[in-house]
Symmetry: C2
């Protein structure tokens, strides 16, 4: 079982790579191939668009690689997602691709292209409090599809997205078909007024209105609102779902934290 | 000439109302009716959605009102824009509506509904450095359609939006027809990586790709990027226009500052 790590957004920290390497060595059930591109730096990004796309396409086409694990989020995978999903090599079709946050742009594009993708923890998450558990959970899914890694209340084929990422992929060539899916959302570092604006945008989309339901994950590191917004993130999601006629599902166990669970796209666990 | 002021987003400051009142008194060419709703407060907003919608609908239906001037931006006009543009009273069709920033949601919805709208300075702008000039420019357009108030290089029927507002109205019922228009954009207080993500979103829209060209206004108060982004806002706009096959027009003289010029939607000044 060989897992390739590439960084389609920002640079992976060396410390994270070392700690994840040690976890993998301790487990002994997989081999980790951290692509050197993960440590490139070009302005905001882990190398130029060409560097990041080329590393991603390389591991997609490598038949010795069983899974592609995105190193971390940040910003930038949208800049290469359309090209990454074009003219897919056959070898890409037998792999699982996993990440979350900014890499949701790739999850969307790859899901749309028929690849197996999952929302789940990434290598850089090892640096969070409790990060070892997050990394082991991700590996449990990558290596043996352990149901214990899953978000515990998936009732329907699902997708999971960072709310900002979801908002900015609507109407683009990356937008997947949301019909009948359970849509899990999470957010980090956004003011409540921004969450409200994003929920307005997302729930006003006729495409998003085809979902079975929306389930709110965690919104973490929400900066203070001045003045007080007058509501909280759960009430905001409920309000916009109500206005749009979208069913509000139970809270989702996902977020920018080490408790973040795995959500395989479009798959309904038995 | 009677100009009604309502606040569809955040509360107007009393000091701004006083200073604009004094400017209007000094000019003697118009009467200003600042609706008491401008000073309501309900959490983030200038009163509840019902309060803000009701005040707006009241002045829209008032045949003694010649123009409706939005008091300021902030956040919240999207929450009432669809309802505000529904079942329009006849009296609304002979008025001009003006604002920018968050009130762009209303400009879009009203333009789509066939009303006369313009991007331009708002009463709260009087508190900026040079704010008197901004307010006089707005009044020059509201009262006598003075061409000197206009963005000086409009070559085609135009629209102007804050970039975040534009991104979050795409795909909603507020989205106007962009075919053949010159699209002026401006931004405030957003990191370069966010401007890049917004430009990805906006220029990936098949609807936006129908514009004649995009013209970048000012991006002000851009917080520092860590690490350095590697590009600036002008280069970002040029990059995404290039990728999308959208013509890049000359810089636009609009922004969150007292130099902000008037852009009448869909009108081509002779």
């Amino acid at each position: 079982m060989k897992i390739a790590v590439v960084a389609p957004s920002n640079m992976l920290k060396g410390e994270a790579a070392e700690r994840v390497g040690a976890i993998v060595d301790g487990r002994g059930d997989c081999e980790l191939a951290i692509h050197p591109q993960c440590f490139l730096s070009d302005g905001h990004f882990a190398g130029s668009d060409e560097d990041r796309l080329s590393a991603l396409r390389e591991v997609m086409a490598d038949s010795s690689v069983d899974a592609v694990w995105f190193a971390r989020g940040g910003y930038g995978s949208n800049r290469i997602a359309e090209a990454a999903a074009r003219d897919l090599p056959d070898a890409a079709r037998s792999k699982l691709f996993m990440g979350y946050s900014d890499t949701g742009f790739l999850l969307a594009a790859f899901r749309k292209a028929g690849l197996e993708v999952a929302h789940g923890p990434m290598p850089q998450d090892v640096l969070r409090d409790g990060g070892d558990a997050a990394v082991n959970r991700a590996l449990d899914w990558l290596v043996r599809r352990d149901p214990a890694a899953l978000e515990p209340h998936l009732e329907q084929p699902a997708m999971a997205f960072n709310l900002t990422v979801l908002s900015t992929l609507l109407g683009t060539p990356l937008e997947p078909d949301f019909t009948g899916i359970e849509l899990l959302i999470e957010e980090v570092g956004e003011h409540l007024y921004r969450i409200d604006r994003l929920m307005f945008h997302v729930t006003s989309s006729s495409k998003v209105r085809k979902v079975a339901r929306i389930r709110p994950g965690r919104a973490s590191d929400v900066p203070g609102n001045d003045p007080e917004f007058g509501s909280d993130e759960r009430a905001i999601v409920a309000d916009w779902c109500g206005r749009a006629g979208i069913e509000l599902g139970r809270p989702a166990d996902i977020g920018h934290d080490s408790g973040n669970k795995v959500v395989p796209f479009g798959r309904f666990p038995e």
